[in-house]
């Protein structure tokens, strides 16, 4: 049975005559984590705002739960769809009142509300005893962002949209925010749609990746995105050195963004790193294996400081005896990379 939550048809969004977003068709299923990737100005935030019902497309249709969304429905839909904005602010009140704000609007009784507020604070690693009565200005940047996230998590939303939730926070807060987001999906089957600079985390948790470029979705499905820096070699290839010293070689001319993408279907896995005609043979280990579209297995391999995703058939997984933690070789051609 289809679990389609959103369907966008022939969407266009213009700002001052400039087309910021143009999507012919996009379907988003419930209970999944979607990652939006792409350079600045690619339309990620515009898409998030339309999905959050904060903004309307200039033309086109948005369907939510099978119904065409009309402007007058948007305030009601925002009761089950919430978004953590890139520049999300706390309300000028105590932490507990910030977190309880949405519940009060929904008419929850004070006792249940207190329980839910404490639960949400704990979920983002803030002790209710220590933080509940703090004022909004008595928090660090990371703590404030966690309170902002708790204000959304407390609603147990059907959809949680996150625009760079960890852009300006410390490492501890980043880890706690990332964990809380995944927990929301696991506990409440919340659909998560997230934009994050932390591609390693993003690719490790996303069920689906939408790659945007110039306001269009240029790729849908898991994708391996590898940012620079890239060093030009005498051979004409470009090389990136990973944290463990291994090197990735790619061909072609770099784009302005200096980011490459490699389709998972271009990646082969082998148990031995014997000589290959492919330029890239990298050593890594399997971190995660999940079924994809029923007949395929998505395999996440950690290589140096990046994670690469490959699709294998079930037979191939059996032949290689693949399992999480297993050492494996990742093989792909230098020409498999596309400059974004």
């Amino acid at each position: 049975m289809s679990n389609m939550l959103y369907e966008l048809k022939n969407i266009k969004r213009y700002y001052n005559g400039r087309c910021a977003l143009s999507i012919n068709h996009l379907a988003i299923e419930g209970g999944q984590i979607y990652a939006l990737v792409g350079p600045n100005g690619s339309g990620k935030t515009t898409l998030l705002r339309i999905l959050a019902f904060l903004d309307e497309p200039t033309m086109g249709e948005v369907f939510y739960n099978g119904s065409l969304v009309a402007p007058k429905m948007m305030p009601f839909l925002r009761r089950e769809v919430t978004m953590l904005l890139q520049d999300s602010r706390l309300l000028t009140r105590k932490v507990k009142d910030n977190v309880a704000y949405g519940l009060k609007l929904r008419g929850m009784d004070p006792l249940s509300m207190k329980h839910r507020v404490n639960e949400a604070l704990e979920m983002v690693g803030l002790s209710p005893k220590e933080f509940a009565n703090r004022k909004w200005y008595e928090l660090s940047g990371g703590e404030a962002q966690r309170v902002a996230l708790a204000s959304r998590l407390v609603l147990r939303p059907k959809v949680l949209l996150l625009d760079e939730p960890t852009a300006n926070v410390d490492a501890v807060s980043e880890s706690l925010i990332n964990d809380a987001v995944v927990r929301a999906k696991e506990e409440w089957k919340t659909t998560i749609i997230v934009v994050s600079h932390n591609l390693l985390w993003l690719y490790s948790v996303a069920d689906e990746v939408l790659t945007l470029w110039g306001g269009r979705i240029i790729q849908q499905g898991p994708e391996n995105i590898i940012p620079g820096p890239w060093k030009k070699l005498e051979t004409g290839l470009y090389c990136k050195t990973l944290r463990d010293g291994q090197k990735i070689f790619v061909s072609g001319e770099p784009s302005e963004s200096k980011v490459i993408s490699i389709s998972p279907s271009e990646i082969l896995l082998a148990s031995h790193g014997e000589k290959s005609s492919a330029r890239n043979v990298l050593r890594g280990f399997v971190t995660q294996m999940t079924y994809h579209n029923g007949d395929q297995v998505r395999v996440h391999v950690s290589v140096g400081d990046i994670t690469l995703v490959a699709f294998l058939t079930k037979d191939a997984v059996m032949d290689l005896n693949l399992h999480p933690g297993m050492d494996i070789y990742v093989i792909f051609k230098a020409s498999a990379a596309k400059w974004l």
Binding site: T82, M83, L85, S88, L91, Y101, L105, Y137, L155
Partner: protein, 232 residues
């Protein structure tokens, strides 16, 4: 230098002895400024909020006019209000000229653009991020508007305090519309100007100290509002 020191010394004597002339001017000032700020806020805050919160054709023009009125010279305000409330003016039968309510009308005209412009700006600045934050949490309609108003309270306080500072320290309107009548419409600023011209330096000093005290309180409140607003 001696006459300054002597003036300061005498000023303290006047203040501590409860000099009637000094305190009559102080009370007249407090009375007229309270009246003025009350009506300024009653009219200005809702207008400023609506100007900042709503969008309508010609909004930019209205904002420009309000911003331009911020630079209104006090004597121009005094002149125009005088024209209206003098015996030959359209409001002449109300006998407001050379009364504290008459002065208050002028001060309302002077302070209104400040409150409208600053509160509209406070709401507009909030609107960018706070409105979206409230929307994402599920607020809508009247609740959304009221919560934006609440979130803008420090900006509104700044607008009110700035306007009060302008009212309490102005001299042009108070002189032209109040007439500086002793025991009746003489305020701190008009008394200071008048007494200093008369050579009553100590009286001017004493009133100056009180004005400074009020200014410190006003500025302290302003700093508090600024800090709270910036700590968002």
């Amino acid at each position: 230098m001696d006459y300054i020191l002597a003036g300061i010394q005498e000023a303290f004597v006047l203040l501590l002895s409860g000099d009637e002339e000094v305190y009559t001017a102080v009370f007249a000032t407090l009375k007229v400024s309270s009246m003025s700020i009350f009506f300024t806020l009653v009219i200005g805050l809702p207008t400023g909020f609506l100007l900042g919160y709503t969008n309508f054709p010609g909004k930019n023009f209205v904002r420009s006019v309000v911003d331009a009125l911020l630079a209104l010279p006090t004597v121009v305000v005094g002149l125009w209000v005088y024209a209206f409330i003098s015996s030959r003016g359209p409001l002449g039968n109300l006998n407001l000229l050379f009364t504290l309510p008459g002065v208050a009308i002028g001060e309302v005209v002077l302070a209104l653009p400040i409150v409208i412009a600053l509160s509209a700006q406070a709401i507009e600045e909030l609107d960018l991020s706070v409105k979206d934050t409230l929307l994402t949490l599920g607020a809508a309609g009247r609740k959304l508007a009221l919560d934006i108003l609440w979130e803008g309270r420090y900006g509104m306080l700044m607008a009110a305090v700035t306007a009060y500072g302008r009212i309490i320290s102005e001299v042009g309107v108070a002189t032209m519309l109040g007439g500086n009548i002793k025991w009746r419409t003489r305020t701190i600023t008009t008394a200071m100007a008048f007494e200093t011209n008369k050579g009553q330096f100590a009286m001017g000093m004493a009133l100056g100290f009180i004005l400074l005290l009020i200014a410190f309180i006003v500025n302290g409140t302003l700093s508090f509002a600024k800090r709270r607003r910036q700590s968002r």
